[in-house]
């Protein structure tokens, strides 16, 4: 079983990445680039959803890692 803290750290890093991309997307002058960044973020959010499912599973099986 993967250690829950590691997975949560990865989740946090990925959320940070998503936020930064969103900031760039708001500022970029080129509309095609903005669309591309939106697509990237959509992909990242899909991964984040899958990841949070796994985290919930881990928390269910190992109660001590629950929280945050």
């Amino acid at each position: 079983m993967t250690v829950a803290t590691q997975v949560k750290q990865t989740q946090a890093a990925l959320m940070g990445v998503e936020a930064t991309i969103r900031t760039y997307q708001l500022h970029h002058p080129n509309s095609d680039t903005r669309k591309l960044m939106e697509e990237c973020n959509a992909g990242i959010n899909a991964v984040l959803d899958t990841l949070s499912i796994r985290i919930r599973e881990i928390e269910y099986e190992e109660h001590q890692f629950k929280g945050l």
């Binding site: 079983m1 890093a13 990445v17 080129n30 992909g43």
Partner: protein
């Protein structure tokens, strides 16, 4: 009137006249001047000097002469805009001297420069081999414009099939210590954003001499105090590095977990992240 008062008035008067009439001379840079422009300039200069020192005698005659010259120049400018014939006559047509790699000797002769001169001009443009030239034309002012053969031109990202992001011009947001609101607004930002960014870097606003923001919203700052070392903005590199780390994490999770279903899912997520990184990379390379 005292003679020196007369002189001062005359000189200042001519100076003012020149300043007011100068716009009709147009905006050509000195290197773009033709022989005609040059001679014209000398004539004006001589006229002004003679009038200033009263060598012409009658002030009214002197200034009229000058104004007539300016008027003539103005008419010529106007004609040049309207008629191609006039333009060709005053500025000359460009003459093609090298086409498809071959020197057109007759044209070269008509420009009045020799083969030796041609080679010398090419050398000044860092071209030492005539074989490297595809096309060369002599402009109206004697400058030679050279198009090197394609394989001798510098590499571009397009040649390498590397996709790059379009960059807009960066905006100067702080100049000589003053915050410029207009460029900030053009980028969709305001002073509070600038404040926050500067606080994040840990510097005082009044210490900033110059600040620029690029098209991605990245701030670059130059301080009055040159002793302070500022870290170069690394958000973009950090972004790529973080994405790579996340991808690596997923791969190691897939190896560590015993759950077969999640092994596959982790691998899939790693692939997704890699795709995102590849899509994003060209745009973060500015």
């Amino acid at each position: 009137m005292e003679p020196w008062i007369q002189l001062t008035l005359r000189v200042l008067g001519l100076f003012l006249l020149l300043v007011l009439v100068l716009p009709i001379l147009g905006r050509k840079p000195v290197s773009g001047m033709t022989f005609f422009d040059l001679i014209s300039g000398f004539v004006i200069a001589t006229m002004i000097s003679l009038i200033a020192f009263n060598i012409v005698g009658n002030l009214a005659m002197g200034v009229s002469g000058l104004l007539i010259w300016f008027l003539a120049l103005g008419v010529v400018r106007f004609l040049i805009q309207k008629s191609k014939w006039a333009h060709d006559h005053f500025y000359g047509k460009e003459i093609v001297i090298i086409k498809e790699g071959k020197v057109l000797e007759e044209n070269l002769h008509s420009t009045g420069i020799t083969g030796e001169e041609l080679l010398s001009q090419l050398r000044r443009k860092s071209i030492f081999q005539l074989a490297d030239v595809e096309f060369a034309v002599m402009e109206a002012n004697g400058d030679i414009s050279v198009l090197p053969k394609h394989e001798k031109q510098p590499l571009t990202p397009k040649d390498m099939r590397i996709q790059v992001s379009t960059i807009s011009e960066p905006q100067i947001v702080v100049l000589d210590g003053n915050i410029l609101d207009e460029p900030l607004n053009t980028l969709g930002l305001n002073r509070r954003w600038l404040q926050t960014e500067i606080e994040k870097m840990g510097i005082a606003t009044d210490n900033i001499f110059l600040a620029q923001v690029d098209s991605m919203g990245e701030l670059y700052v130059d301080l009055f105090d040159d002793a302070i070392q500022l870290p170069m903005p690394t958000t973009k590199e950090l972004l790529i590095a973080t994405l790579n780390k996340v991808e690596a994490d997923f791969i190691s999770f897939s190896l560590e977990t015993e759950n077969k279903e999640w092994q596959k899912k982790y691998k899939h997520m790693a692939k997704e992240i890699k795709e995102v990184t590849d899509k994003l990379e060209p745009h973060l390379k500015t």
